[in-house]
């Protein structure tokens, strides 16, 4: 009985790793499409969002089956409830990669008012956060999960730097306003991806300690 349960928990972990890899790819591809103004790649990211949604449903279904069949307690209960919380944030990250791609298509025929510099850095930072938060879950690595939470400051600082740049560009020429607004929106999507990675990491900490944001859940 227990060995079947362990196999199913392993399957759950593998599914989360797979979903994590799909969303990392979505962020990476959306960023590259943005940098190169590649409409085709941006469309592929939007279309691939359905795969992420399907993966979320598949993992959700597996978690519900485990709750029903195994009536888990202790670390099993924490692991499965954490997975259920994580996939909601992971699915939202997929949506945000698609949202970035939508704006990428909108801006594809315009010359950028500024060379994209901080946005690729934000993308790199958020991909790292997503990867590490899921790694922390699989390896039950508390220090790594805490590092993800800390690392969000890097993303927030980049967001503020972009905001400052764009305000300066609008001050210099009000004609920049339209694109500046879209670029600000894109930066906001990356910043939200960082927040979702923090949410994932905080649930990983719960799965290890039983505490969510230093509060005992039960």
């Amino acid at each position: 009985m227990r060995s079947r349960f362990d196999e199913q928990l392993k399957l759950l972990n593998n599914s989360l790793i797979e979903m994590g890899s799909i969303i990392e790819n979505a962020i990476s591809k959306a960023t590259k499409a943005l940098e190169t103004q590649d409409v085709k790649s941006a469309r592929e990211v939007i279309e691939a969002d359905q795969i992420i949604d399907d993966k979320e449903k598949e993992i959700e279904s597996l978690c519900l089956k485990l709750l029903l069949h195994q009536q888990p307690v202790a670390r099993d209960l924490r692991q499965i409830s954490t997975a259920l919380k994580m996939i909601t944030d992971m699915e939202r990250i997929g949506d945000q990669a698609a949202d970035i791609s939508e704006l990428c298509i909108l801006l594809a025929s315009d010359e950028y008012i500024k060379k994209l510099e901080h946005i690729p850095q934000m993308a790199k930072a958020t991909i790292r956060m997503v990867t590490e938060s899921i790694d922390a879950y699989v390896k039950k690595d508390m220090a790594l999960a805490e590092a993800v939470v800390e690392y969000d400051d890097v993303v927030d600082e980049l967001y503020l730097a972009i905001k400052k740049d764009l305000i300066a560009l609008v001050h210099a020429d009000v004609e920049n306003g339209g694109q500046a607004f879209d670029l600000m929106q894109i930066a906001k999507y990356y910043e939200r991806i960082g927040d979702h990675a923090v949410n994932i990491a905080e649930w990983v900490i719960f799965s290890i300690t039983g505490k969510h944001k230093n509060r005992q859940v039960l």
Partner: protein, 249 residues
């Protein structure tokens, strides 16, 4: 408030050391679950609380068990102790007599003879056990004709008819179907407002559903004793974790 204070309790059955230095307090008006693998000492401790072990051959007990501050193994009259600390067993064991006489049996042995008073006690006990509506027209019928679930609730009513302060329950639902189990669990949650309940169960989900505190026993020792929700989400001891998640036992 504590109903039981247990201090350095050791119990031997001949050479077998069944309970090892148990120290725990049990809260009043609470449901406390004892869990653990077979032979770990949980039923032995339960029976120690109303001295059911006294008649077990070769049984030796040392240490303190206090009921609301009174020494259970001191001068306390055993009949009075068992009136205050009732017990319900795994298998329903109605007496081969009518429903009414089953409930009235205890009060009669404690000297109540008035029919009016006995009628009142029988009705109240059956109502408290949430079985009055099912049995009010069958009071004179044999209790042996009831279903297993009804028999067990009758036994709970019988235990309550002598107005105990505490109910000890040794796997009270393990022989019952899920509907009857659900009814008894609902009943226990209702009863804990007035009684202190201590239940031995092999059903982890039952312990998680109904009890306020849970004690995990292993090889005659209490390994962990804590708030139930905390034990079932974040047990402190690896042995508890391994047992409740089915990794051993």
């Amino acid at each position: 408030m504590k109903c039981f204070e247990i201090e350095k309790l050791n119990l031997h059955y001949g050479d077998f050391h069944a309970l090892k230095n148990i120290c725990m307090n049990i809260e009043k008006e609470n449901i406390t679950s004892f869990i653990g693998p077979s032979g770990c000492g949980k039923s032995s401790l339960l029976k120690t609380l109303n001295r059911m072990n006294d008649i077990a051959e070769g049984c030796r007990i040392s240490g303190d068990v206090k009921l609301f501050g009174e020494d259970v193994y001191g001068d306390m009259d055993v009949n009075m102790l068992r009136k205050r600390v009732g017990m319900v067993f795994q298998k329903p064991n109605p007496f081969p007599m009518s429903v009414y006489d089953n409930i009235a049996f205890g009060p009669r042995t404690h000297g109540i003879k008035s029919k009016y008073e006995l009628d009142k006690i029988v009705e109240k006990a059956l109502q408290d056990a949430a079985i009055w509506n099912e049995l009010k027209d069958r009071l004179k019928k044999s209790a042996l004709g009831l279903s297993g679930g009804q028999q067990q609730r009758l036994c709970i009513a019988r235990a309550m008819a002598v107005s105990p302060e505490i109910l000890l329950m040794d796997e009270p639902t393990s022989a019952l179907d899920p509907i009857s189990t659900g009814k008894i669990e609902e009943l226990l949650l209702h009863l804990k407002e007035a009684y202190s309940i201590i239940i031995v169960t092999h059903n982890m989900q039952q312990a998680a559903r109904i009890s306020d505190k849970t004690a995990f026993f292993l090889f005659g020792q209490v390994i962990e004793y804590s708030e139930t929700e905390s034990m079932f989400t974040m047990p402190r001891d690896k042995r508890t974790e391994d047992y409740i998640t089915g990794r051993f036992g």
